[in-house]
Amino acid sequence: MSFLKSLFLILGLVTGAIASPALAQSEPETLRPLINELAKGKYAETEQQIGALAATGDPAVAPALKALSEGDLFFRKSDGAVFIAEKQGKSYNLTDPLTLETAGEAGRREVKKIKVNNKLRRVIRSALGSLTLMASDPKVRRQAAVAIFKAKDPDGIEALDVALAAEEDEGVRRVMEQARAAAVLNSDLDETQKLDAVATLSDMGNRDALSLLLSVRASSEGAVQSAASDAVTKIEKSIAAWDAAQNIWYGVSLGSVLLLAAIGLAITFGVMGVINMAHGEMVMIGAYTTFVVQDVIRTSMPGLFEYSLFIALPLAFIVAGLIGIAIERGVIRWLYGRPLETLLATWGISLILQQAVRSIFGPTNREVGNPDWMSGAFELGQMTITYNRMWIIVFALLVFAGLMLVLKKTPFGLYTRAVTQNRRMAASMGIRTPWIDALTFGLGSGIAGIAGVALSQIDNVSPNLGQGYIIDSFMVVVFGGVGNLWGTLVGAMTLGVVNKFLEPYAGAVLGKIFVLVFIILFIQKRPRGLFALKGRAVEA
């Protein structure tokens, strides 16, 4: 009979509460005598004392056991009290093993280390495993099960069986079953047990299970081996599917970044026929607005940090939009109908804006923080989804929908379309065309600005930020087809996904080169993009 079994028998007899280990919580002071017992006796007695400690089922004893196995547990010679001690120069810093509060210092001669050997370490590990498996916090229980899964320790099977009987949380229970299966496969139990374990792992279906099953396939024989190899094939298939899904996710995520960068350009270039080379700088201005907002918040009202992006969004829209209107009024309005010259003039403006930002904020990257809800990641099946990418996708789609609504459902959108289709007729109908031009350009620039807020979360905020996006944005607009926002959406998503699918085979840079060459060739086939406008007017 193994040690753990006897342990749990004792536990059952003493408390009669195996089914609810969480109840077995006790006050530190009732545990202290048990812990102090560790200071006495030889290895065999220590083993029993560890058993007694584990039998309390109280996670509070875990730090002491952990310290014991690492050789950090000491007792004071004067009164036999046990402490976790850390060497500090010539003396030791003492920590209370139960409350984990500091308990003063002790000289080198005043304390003595409690000795452990390898056998005891193993006992402690199992005891720790079972203690944490019975912890009241489901997260701790899950972690304990994951640890056993990784260790594949056959000694953990009994503890897991007990814990499984008591477990009520479905998710933790599954992890425990998987851990048990991993341990079973590593033990010398009989074939039926192992077949069950293979089935459990096969249902698990991720890379961890795959590597386990691969080693099982290599080391076992007969029915277990064939079951394992079946399971391996099944898992490999599912992993391939999940990989594809992950690639699509990355692609959509890249696509939404492209969409954000390009959608403002789609208005100024696609709707107005103005090639705005300073578009990237509008994105940059949005990112710097975020930086300034966060800077102000950091120094004056730190509590608002979580909302900094919501404050930055309207500000970035207004700042970039106003600069856009100024550019339109100052320069572009003289150049309508001469797209190549707007290209040159706006390139000049982009140089000026870059240098202005460099003069004000310095040439180096600026630190823009992620709020809590933008950082971290979660697992969906076997995909890892980071929150910042997810919110950027959501945000890009919202911006797209919002822009569509503005252009289709508001009077301003109606006027914009009227002016871009037939300026003279629109003017005759009483629309103030110069105003509409300025506002449309401001809208495109403002959207670039809010794109900058989003991009500041995933990219370096530096004076060159805009330059990095301008070529990609043009590719998206040209690929999608000028003058069509749906084309921009489809173009951005297609290029994003294609890029991400090429990357595993070609590498990031080569993948990007392929995409560029692909666009160059595509333009030959469809010189007006994916969603080309048709009709006589296009040729003009």
């Binding site: 109908g337 040159l344 000026i352 240098q355 070529i471 043009f474 069509n484 080169i513 160059i520 296009v538």
Partner: protein, 414 residues
Amino acid sequence: MMSSFLFRAMDAKAGLFLAILGAAIVLIPAGNLLVPETSPFHVPTYAVTLMGKYLTYALLALAVDLVWGYCGILSLGHAAFFALGGYAMGMYLMRQIGTRGVYGDPVLPDFMVFLNWEHLPWYWYGFDMFWFAALMVLLVPGALAFVFGWFAFRSRVTGVYLSIITQALTYALLLAFFRNDMGFGGNNGLTDFKDILGFDIQADTTRAGLFAASGLALVLCFLICRSITRSKLGKVLVAVRDAESRTRFLGYRVEHYKLFVWTLSAMMAGIAGALYVPQVGIINPGEFAPANSIEVVIWVAVGGRGTLVGAVLGAVLINFAKTWFTAALPDVWLFALGGLFVVVTLFLPKGIVGTLSSGWTALRQRKISARYEAGSDQPPSPAPHSPGAAANVSPRTENTAPNASGAAKPQPAE
């Protein structure tokens, strides 16, 4: 026949320009090599190199002016041809180092030894011979331009779309040349050159020689461009620029004309790059940057597109200003350059030379009409062969329909 072809290029204005350029080619090296250093007329070697660099830029600008000013193809990718020519020359210079490299390998350039390459890649074969490298300086940019133009012009990619995909072209090359496994030295590029044609590349005489070679190449390319633009071919090009469909309907194979000047222009850019590299001593992927191509367009726009002389003048002036600004007021340079762009497109759409020459034409017209009104002369006729007058046709005709491209957009699909 060739001489008559080149003879057509000559007139008073071109003569003046060539005289100035010729004087520079003779006087600057002479001032460097023959005048003693103590004399106030001595030209320091760094100045010779600097001006040699300007001349190669001028040649690049000339190439851009040929396609943009006369054929209406706004290339935002000419830096690609420039850099390809430069790489071809750089590969030759790299092979001339021999065992004098850091690793002393007689065959492999330093960066290949560093990256543990075993053999010279096949595309490096032949670059130990100057004639082969010189051939490649013409052929590589020419072939790329031919293939690119073949596709682009046949499928009638024009205007803004063409500009954007030329930018994509140079950007793709930029990314490619940054890769270490391309065999062109990755982001460090090719450098540490020693000899060219057996002469020490650092020597004063070689520097002067390279300057003179750049000047001669510029003269030669100028004559070729000028004879093209003044020939019937040039008239067709201007027709393509101003009304492409109309020219096509008249029976001209527009794409052939475009392909010809486009490829020729790319080769000129290649020559410019090849002369640039030995003078600055390095070629790296940064030369492919789209921003470089756009900057060339600015030189041409400032000098005056469609004037040839203007392109040269713009390149030299702006680069001189750049050298001065980046040394004296580095922070102001981008403001100045950006401001120049805006001012030139808004107020000087014909550039310096274009404005001056149309001012000159207008003045002469007024004199002639004054004489006509006095009843002593023939009725006025527009001055023939005035490049400035030809150049301003394009913006004006485009301008008659304000927001032509914008007005053309039908409603987005409902």
